[in-house]
């Protein structure tokens, strides 16, 4: 029993070697197909990362009523901070508002008027949920309900532009990644089927001399698993190289770096190995 098992495992490994050309073609085909999956995962990860950074640039300004003084303003800021969807709110005192006015309009407000007519305010950052768009309006509404808030101002067009696409984009990326994974699975099982098709004689002869289906299948199973494993290692290496290369290239333009997540790649390796295994089982069955 153990002898047969060892024989079958060694058959699987030796058959990789015996059919070097085919095995290499299969492994590189799996490698390339798997690279597409890994790429799509890396690209998806990174694009959504970039979008998160872009969202991090959103600026919300809250203006309080003219009768709110700096002390009251600090209280209002605390109230606003507690609203759901807001990550942080910081106080802009009347004096800071005057500084801003000067920066924006190039005029000292005190040169124009004796007193400072500008109200205190607050600058906000929103929470950035990864999987759904930020719906700005309800948050704005809630802020406006706070007694003492006069007006909320934000880069309406740009934010609504990004957020409008965000969910659709997320869905599209997910669908695309699923499609690519699905395609790759078919591709892999096709490739393995072709490589097994070239050895239908072997299967026929084994059956003629009394091999059970299990016996015939086992070496192909080992072979499929090994091909899937080596293929996805290739994909992991290629994608790692690509990410590192891109990062070198990116460093010429920007500080942003692509991320290569070991966990995701390891998961994908597992998935590819699994489907290589399934693919070779299904392909062998055709000839049994």
């Amino acid at each position: 029993m153990i002898d047969r098992f060892l024989y079958l495992v060694s058959e699987g490994i030796r058959s990789l070697w015996r059919t070097k050309t085919t095995a290499l073609a299969t492994i590189s085909a799996i490698g390339i197909a798997a690279s597409f999956v890994v790429f799509s995962a890396v690209v998806g990860e990174n694009i959504s990362g970039i979008i998160q950074i872009a969202r991090g640039q959103y600026e919300f300004q809250v203006f309080f009523s003219e009768d709110v003084d700096n002390i009251r303003a600090a209280e209002l800021v605390d109230q606003i901070d507690a609203i759901e969807g807001i990550k942080s709110a910081s106080l802009i005192t009347k004096e800071e508002a005057a500084d801003i006015f000067q920066r924006e309009f190039g005029e000292n407000i005190f040169d124009l008027l004796e007193e400072n007519p500008l109200p205190p305010g607050s600058v906000l950052k929103l929470q950035q949920p990864k999987d759904k768009r930020i719906d700005v309006n309800p948050i704005i509404k809630q802020i406006e309900l706070v007694e003492g808030v006069d007006e909320v101002r934000y880069q309406g067009r740009l934010i609504s532009f990004i957020e409008r696409y965000y969910e659709g984009f997320f869905a599209a990326v997910t669908a695309l990644a699923a499609a690519i994974l699905f395609g790759t699975v078919i591709l892999i099982s096709n490739t393995i089927r072709l490589s097994i098709y070239a050895r239908r004689d072997l299967i026929r002869i084994l059956k003629l001399v009394g091999a059970t289906d299990r016996f015939v299948r086992f070496p192909f199973m080992i072979e499929g698993i090994l091909e899937g494993f080596f293929g996805s290692l290739v994909a992991a290496a290629v994608s790692y190289g690509f990410v590192e290369g891109s990062n070198y290239f990116l460093s010429l333009f920007t500080q942003y770096r692509l991320v290569w997540q070991f966990q995701i790649v390891a998961l994908l390796v597992g998935v590819i190995v699994f489907f290589s295994f399934v693919g070779s089982m299904r392909a062998v069955r055709k000839f049994l």
């Binding site: 002898d3 002869i205 084994l206 001399v209 009394g210 091999a211 059970t212 289906d213 016996f215």
Partner: protein, 216 residues
Amino acid sequence: MISFKNVSCTFEDGAGIENATFNIEPGEFVCIIGPTGAGKTTFLKLIYMDIFPEEGTVGVDKYRSDKIKKRSIPMLRRRVGMVFQDFELLRDRSVFDNIAIPLHVQGVGMKMVKDEVENVLDRLGISDRRDHLPSQLSGGEQQIVSLARALVKDPLIILADEPTGNLDPAASLKVIELLEEINRDGTAILMATHNFSLVKDRGYRFMQIVDGEVQT
């Protein structure tokens, strides 16, 4: 051991076997003769259940063609040693590995496989070809390897389809004598041949296929 009951197995154009009924007992040595296209190979395929009869039943050992499960066919084939007319060797495996396959299929231990294969290589005088690939063998040598693969598993019956077709007279005679020797140890032999002169006076049981009819 082998029993045919009203077995018919024909092809569109009338070739094949019709309504054959007979028994072959354990330890018999049977020669199947008949011209080209008579149905000798078809006959042997029925026994190792590569094809099934349209009518009637073929019984081999404890297996019956009308009841056998797909799962059991390998078990049947392990008890039957086959020498195929076209050898059916694995092209990418050495002589040694080809002969070893039936033993691996049965789960025989590594060491025992080595002993048995070397034993049979010796017996057939092809030890010096053990590492050749089939493509590096002459036609006759391939035929002998095919025979070796049938012998190695120590079968109940040997089905030999034209086992001397690619051999010179001296080698043919040696093969025949070897089969007789194995037969004396109790293994039934079923040999298809058209080399009637080679087998005629050796006291075998003859079965002749004429126009699809099996005459015993």
